[in-house]
Amino acid sequence: MTPVSVSAAESAAETSVAPLLVFGWGNLSRGDDALGPLFVERLRALCEQRDLTAQIDFLDDYQLQIEHALDLAGRQRVLFVDASLNCAAPFEVTALQPQQDASFTTHAMSPQALMQVFHDLHGQTPPPCTLLAIRGEQFELGEPPGADALAHLAAALSWAEGWLAASEKTQAEPG
């Protein structure tokens, strides 16, 4: 069997990443499922206005998947963002811990499972991760996000400004 070693490209990636990662997922064409990527798009625009983008990487995808564990490497804090049918309106914020769950065996993973994979692969505790779940109601293909969902998104973006400020403060503190 050919041994596995971390590639040069992977090592480089781990040493050059921004300290903060905002990762949203969902499908822009499935109604309120667009909330995750829309959040990323709008927060990125906000950060560009304030010249904060050097400190933050913004990523989005259709769903969380196993290789996204590599995107956690080298981060100080991670914010996961997804639309949710189960959370209270307008949004819920949860500090996450690594956890093995049923999502390991599917094409889509939970952020807790992703953190567990990071731990098992790197032998390290993953960076502090927070889940921002934004309340959605309908997820039909070809439908735009609903008015309620967009209001929830606006509220979540207001909360994110506080998260950013707290992150800046954390980075500014010595040691």
């Binding site: 050919t2 590639s7 992977e10 822009l28 769903q63 196993i66 599917t106 094409h107 039909e140």
Partner: protein, 505 residues
């Protein structure tokens, strides 16, 4: 006439077992079993709710939007839809004229990167837990974390192979997701020399791991030939694209089909003529259509697509390492076609190896980094684009009006082609493993293993079945509920006659 075990002669009074997982993106699949009082299998059906509103989602849009929009049909293989749509609109804009050499090279690189990342995900992360630990092993261990803990090198290879494929997609399509690289009549970006060189540096490692992957799959067959040859095995026709000279080709080619003995049924048929070959049948109990070859009819004309079909439908694989592996695979069939459901995994890893070899060739092609990106031709009213997606043959078919709006759209996705085959696989497993026995989680997982071998778009849902809610109802001949067993997502069994009917969404 129906297929064996498709419809019970007297369904009244039989016990119904529903395996009913749900999925957010890829559709909804469930298996129902009807058992008599002695647990004998009377009826087995795999029902699939496909993507909703495919055609309505696309019709009325300008054609140039469609290759980007169709990526949102499926979060699992968006690149396949992107390229199939682009190929169809090539036909609309160019007629028979080819796209430029650079456009074809860049698109091919994107597509083989997609094949690599998709096959790596399926084998290493969705199927290896079953294959390494056993189909009825401890469900708490039968997942990728179990693999990461017991075989960390295997888990990491899977991740890094997939990451390499996705980096190729990012470079060729412009973005990690929602790429725009392929456009009707060409592409909108070349690969830079720096991007090419970065990918080339990774190639030796990826090639070695791809070879390892084939070896793992081959060893699994060699170690337990009785299981791997017989599990969910049935004979079928095979359909795929092949290159005009009979070589394996995932991006373009002509349609070829073989019968179950390996005899060519048709060959060299233009992809534009697919409707002369394939007919889709609707059955009342499933939302997914059942395609079959018109020439053979519904009962004899159904077929398989995907890795098992492609590896055996072609005359050769045009890269050296994968061709050696194809020959070993064919030798396993001892002169006939290999029909084993689990052989999909072995064939899939041969394709993974081939993909890496093709990527190496494409990265050495100067047209990748220089040359014309777009071309022109004679406008047509319609076009068909067919590619071999990771799960099998993917067909996009469009009509475009003079105002550039799409007026008709027909898509046949890979999982649809394999609908009858997956039902046959489930019935074979039910006959061999479940018939007359008490149902356990491990036994039900055997059914999922058979479905998962096809890597259908619903496999994300079905794979989690061991930990998904399960609702088993025992109904008496008079329709009265005699017993009800529910399994929670945590695996706890609860007998509750008063539980609400239906599973949580």
């Amino acid at each position: 006439m129906t297929f064996a075990l498709e419809t019970a002669a007297h369904p009244e009074g039989l016990r119904r077992v529903a395996i009913d997982p749900v999925s957010r993106v890829e559709g909804h699949g469930k298996v129902t079993l009807l058992l008599d009082a002695d647990n004998r299998i009377e009826q087995v059906r795999l029902h699939i709710v496909e993507f909703r509103g495919f055609e309505k989602f696309i019709e009325g849009r300008p054609y140039w939007e469609v290759p980007v929009m169709v990526q949102r049909l499926c979060g699992i293989c968006p690149v396949s839809h992107h390229l199939a749509a682009a190929k169809a609109f090539d036909r609309v804009l160019l007629g028979d004229a080819p796209i430029t050499a650079s456009a074809e090279i860049v698109r091919r690189l994107m597509h083989y990167g997609q094949m690599l990342q998709s096959h790596a995900l399926h084998f290493f992360h969705l199927s290896s837990p079953d294959l390494l630990f056993g189909f009825d092993s401890d469900v708490a261990r039968r997942n990728i974390v179990g693999v990461a803990q017991a075989h960390p090198e295997i888990a990491k290879k899977g991740i890094l192979l997939r990451k390499f494929g996705q980096e190729i997609i990012r470079i060729t399509s412009g973005k990690r997701v929602h790429g725009t690289g392929a456009v009707p009549a060409g592409i909108n970006k070349l690969v830079t020399p720096e991007e090419r060189d970065a990918l080339k540096r990774e190639l030796p490692q990826m090639l070695a791991w791809a070879q390892d992957s084939v070896d793992i799959a081959k060893q699994l067959h060699a170690q337990n030939p009785a299981l791997y040859n017989q599990f969910g095995t049935f004979r079928s026709n095979m359909l795929s694209l092949v290159r005009a000279d009979g070589a394996m080709d995932f991006y373009d080619g002509v349609l070829r089909a073989r019968d179950a003995d390996g005899k060519i049924l048709f060959d060299g048929v233009s992809d534009q003529s697919y409707l002369t070959l394939i007919e889709e049948e609707v059955r009342s109990w499933s939302y997914m259509k059942f395609p079959h070859l018109r020439s053979l009819g519904r009962e004899q004309g159904w077929y398989r697509v995907g890795p098992l079909a492609r590896v055996q439908n072609c005359d050769f694989i045009p890269t050296p390492r994968a061709e050696i592996e194809r020959q070993a695979f064919m030798a396993w069939g001892q002169g006939g076609l290999v029909h084993a459901t689990l052989a999909y995994h072995w064939a899939r890893m041969i394709e993974l190896l081939h993909s890496v070899e093709v990527i190496a060739e494409l990265l050495d092609n100067p047209a990748l980094v220089s040359g014309d990106m777009m071309t022109t031709g004679v406008r047509q009213r319609s076009g068909v684009g067919i590619i071999e997606a990771p799960r099998g043959t993917l067909i996009h078919d469009y009509d475009v009006a003079d105002d550039d709006l799409v007026t008709r759209c027909n898509l046949i996705v890979s999982t649809t082609h394999n609908n009858q085959a997956m039902n046959e696989a489930v019935r074979a497993v039910a006959r061999d493993y479940l018939d007359g026995r008490e149902l356990t989680e491990g036994l039900l997982n055997h059914i999922e293993v058979a479905i998962r071998a096809y890597d259908p778009c619903l496999s994300c849902a079905t794979h989690a079945l061991g930990q998904m809610p399960l609702d088993v109802a025992l109904v008496g001949p008079d329709g009265a509920l005699i017993d009800r067993v529910l399994r929670s997502p945590q695996g706890e069994l609860l007998h509750d006659l008063n539980a609400p009917v239906g599973l949580p969404a």
